[in-house]
Amino acid sequence: MALHPILAALRKHKSGVVLISMQIALTLAIVCNAIFIIGQRIDRVNRLTGLDEGNLFLVTQQWVGAPSGDDPAGVEKLDSMQKEDLVALRTLPDVASVASINSLPLLNSSSNGEISLKPGATESKGNTRTTFYFGDEQMLSTLGLRLIAGRAFNTGDIQHHSFRDQTEPSIVIVTKPIADKLFPQGSAVGKVMYLDGGTTPTTIIGVVERLQVPGSGSWTNNFAYNATLEPTRIDHNYARYVVRAKPGRLEAAMRAIPPTLYKVNPLRVLDDDSVKSFADIRASAYRADIGMAILMGVVCLILLGVTAAGIVGLTSFWVGQRHRQIGVRRALGARKIDILHYFQIENLMIAGIGAVIGVLLALGLNAWLMQHFEMDRIPLAYVLVGLVALVILGQVAVFVPARRASNVSPVEATRAA
């Protein structure tokens, strides 16, 4: 079919054509970027923590009137209170294992620092950032971490000290990203490093495959899996215990915790949040991301709906306006399918122009977003898929009015408008 008549007709509807292609362009720009944001959020939410998350829960509790931990006697007293709790929890029938721990991935309560291969390196340049997990000999098995080299902690390794005491440990376990970064050649096990610019050497005794840091914000992006595990029970007037329930017994195990702890020592605070399943911790860490993704999704759907409705509305008007001309063409021998194709090709051209402008707008919008928000460069694939999607949307939207146009009877030619 010759394009000339279509172009000639479009010239008569300049403002309409400009408006509809502008709408398509804007829709494409917004939808592409919104879908890219949705994709980014979903990637974030789907990151693995390295834990075996099912059946896992966390107990956070605080003693009332406990010693402060500022003197050695207080530290010993706090440590024995903590050990009493651990023993009581480990004997519960629905509990598989329990470990003392300072934090968990996605909990957003963290102790972070730096690792260096040289002693006393306070310059942060060249150091490796890490988060520190403090826990006892059951930490690895309770969390379900996969040990890929060396050994786990045993009972004899476990130290204990107060929250504020920053004595460097003599042995640690690190995650694979740290081992690979510090010792690109060969195994990290048995190697020595220095923590937080200190001068006490620390030996790596094991490497775990993966463990995420507690922070889930974007500030942790450059060290999201750099974790160092220390064989230390932290003694403070509050304590955290990570518990693995026996398969299928999560709820029963969680219910049994408060009465058990109160029985050991009633002078403590346990509130609604004190016993929290890891599924809940995950949900609250990513709530904002999921909310944003849903919002973006809804906006995209409505935008596409509005644009499609706009195309239907405008094309319907054009069909109505050209009733007589269509009739004339039909009377001169054009088939129904020719009329249908006419409107489809017209729409293809308008949507095509709009979509090409939209691609440029989408890239521009992405550049602007990168400047003002935490955004990455949008992959071209997203934009091209968006282009194709909008052209298809245009074709779907135009089909009904175009069909109506093709059903105009040749008799119309003889009627006055």
Binding site: S15, G16, L19, I20, M22, Q23, L26, T27, A29, I30, A34, I37, Q62, V64, G65, S68, D70, D71, T122, E123, S124, K125, R164, D165, Q166, N237, Y238, R268, V269, D271, S284, R287, A288, G291, M292, L295, M296, V299, I302, L303, V306, T307, A309, G310, G313, L314, F317, W318, G320, Q321, L369, H372, F373, E374, A416, A417
Partner: protein, 434 residues
């Protein structure tokens, strides 16, 4: 004349119901989304203390060692115990308060209540007069109470309701962490948003239940809650909090005019030089003195997602408007014949233009009302979210007015081009072609 135009407009709108509905719905969706996000932004970027914010300043000094020094770096965001104490005792501002956050376990005397956690603010006495804190019962404490580490507390009205059924509880004792403290005051409805004086603890909607002298909290060794940032060998020793290489306190001052602020900034520079001479500071003086709103801006307290949502909503509104312009244009051009007749019968271009704008205005007004309903729905949805600011998302009269102006303005703007184009029609040509 206006009534007649209105009648014409309604008649024309009724003729194409589906199209009218589409235009109204598009405007309503755009306005609803914009107003919902704009209201959230408006609430979150508000001034927590409108009458006082321009006299409140947040001094920052840089006590770090020279390791990792970089000349354009910002100073630390909080102060250490030593610097806080020094600046407090210098008394160079009209009022000054040194504070930090904490968590305390409250042991109710009523047996029906289990012990529970409560957020606490450990502060010096000027906190109350400086921030204009409202009291329901009693009052704050004074500098002498700070010096003597008096065992007293001020509690929030929410905690007072929980423990004492809202009755005047001043003079009663409150047991915290095994120690009894005398209640001297109960706060009234005072809940500044954002929680400007300590952004580490919470940003919005939450305030502490317990307020007590900073010295008392240190005496009782209560748990600190908030950000602790250490440098050098920070953290070593039994009480690193007081040893000087960690910052964990907030220091606020009241300076009544810019001249005083300039003098105070000079003082901070002198203080830094003096500390450097003493060997405590190692970097050249690096100070900041931001006022309250400047401090909130610097901390980018409004979440990035909220700002992104506002832009998204306005982009959405733009598409809806373009959509409406397109449809209105098509519609007005379709009526060229009718408009031609009116022109031929003597209606001026201006009259025709007015008539079409009234029609656009009717669409805009309906869209605005629809948008307002959608904004109420949107804000209700926001309030169901578990974010800290959810409870604050309400439409105030100011935003209500903005919604209507936005809707009306947007649709008139959308009607402008189509109406103008339609008025360019030559009546003779239209009549002939018919």
């Amino acid at each position: 004349m206006f009534a007649y135009y209105l009648e014409l407009a309604l008649r024309s709108l009724m003729r194409n119901r589906a199209l009218t509905a589409l235009m109204v719905l598009a405007i309503a969706l755009g306005i609803g989304a914009s107003m919902t996000t704009l209201t959230v932004l408006h609430v979150l970027s508000g001034d927590p203390l409108p009458e006082r914010s321009n006299t409140l300043y947040y001094p920052q000094v840089d006590p770090r060692d020279s390791a990792g020094h970089d000349s354009d770096k910002e100073p630390m965001e909080q102060v250490s115990w030593t610097d806080g104490k020094n600046l407090l005792q210098a008394k160079r501002a009209n009022r000054q308060a040194l504070m930090t956050g904490g968590t305390v376990a409250v042991q109710p005397t009523q047996s029906a209540l289990d012990p529970f956690y409560e957020d606490a603010r450990f502060t010096t006495a000027d906190f109350f007069p400086m921030f204009g804190v409202l009291f329901q019962y009693g009052h704050g404490w004074n500098a002498a109470d700070d010096d003597s580490s008096a065992r007293l507390v001020v509690i929030s009205s929410a905690l007072n309701d929980k423990l004492f059924g809202g009755k005047d509880s001043t003079g009663q004792m409150l047991r915290l962490e095994g120690t009894a403290l005398r209640i001297v005051g109960v706060l009234g409805d005072w809940r500044p948003n954002p929680h400007f004086y300590d952004l580490n603890v919470t940003n919005y909607a939450e305030s502490e239940g317990v307020y007590m002298p900073l010295s008392t909290s240190q005496d009782l060794q209560l748990v600190h809650d908030g950000s602790v940032d250490c440098w050098g060998n920070g953290g070593a020793g039994q009480r690193p909090d007081h040893s000087g290489t960690c910052v964990w306190l907030q220091f606020w001052v009241q300076l009544d005019n810019p001249a005083q602020a300039a003098v105070y900034k000079e003082f901070l520079v002198h203080y830094s030089q003096e500390q450097k001479a003493l060997g405590r500071f190692q970097r050249p003086p690096n100070v900041r003195l931001r006022n309250l709103m400047g401090w909130l801006d610097y901390n980018m307290v409004v979440p990035g997602d909220v700002r992104l949502q506002v832009w998204l909503a306005f982009g959405f509104l733009l598409v809806c408007l373009v959509n409406t312009v397109g449809l209105m244009l098509a519609k007005f051009m379709r009526r060229a014949g009718e408009l031609g007749v009116r022109r031929a019968l003597g209606a001026s271009r201006r009259a025709l233009f007015g008539q079409l704008l009234v029609e656009a205005g009717v669409i805009g007004l309906s869209g605005g009302i629809g948008g307002l309903l959608l904004a109420f729905l949107g804000l209700w949805l926001v309030r169901q979210q578990p974010t800290s600011y959810a409870a604050l998302a309400h439409l105030d009269p100011w935003m209500l007015l903005t919604t209507f102006l936005l809707a009306l303005g947007a649709s008139l703007l959308a009607g402008l081009l189509p109406a103008w184009r339609a008025c360019q029609i030559t009546p003779a040509l239209q009549l002939k072609s018919n």
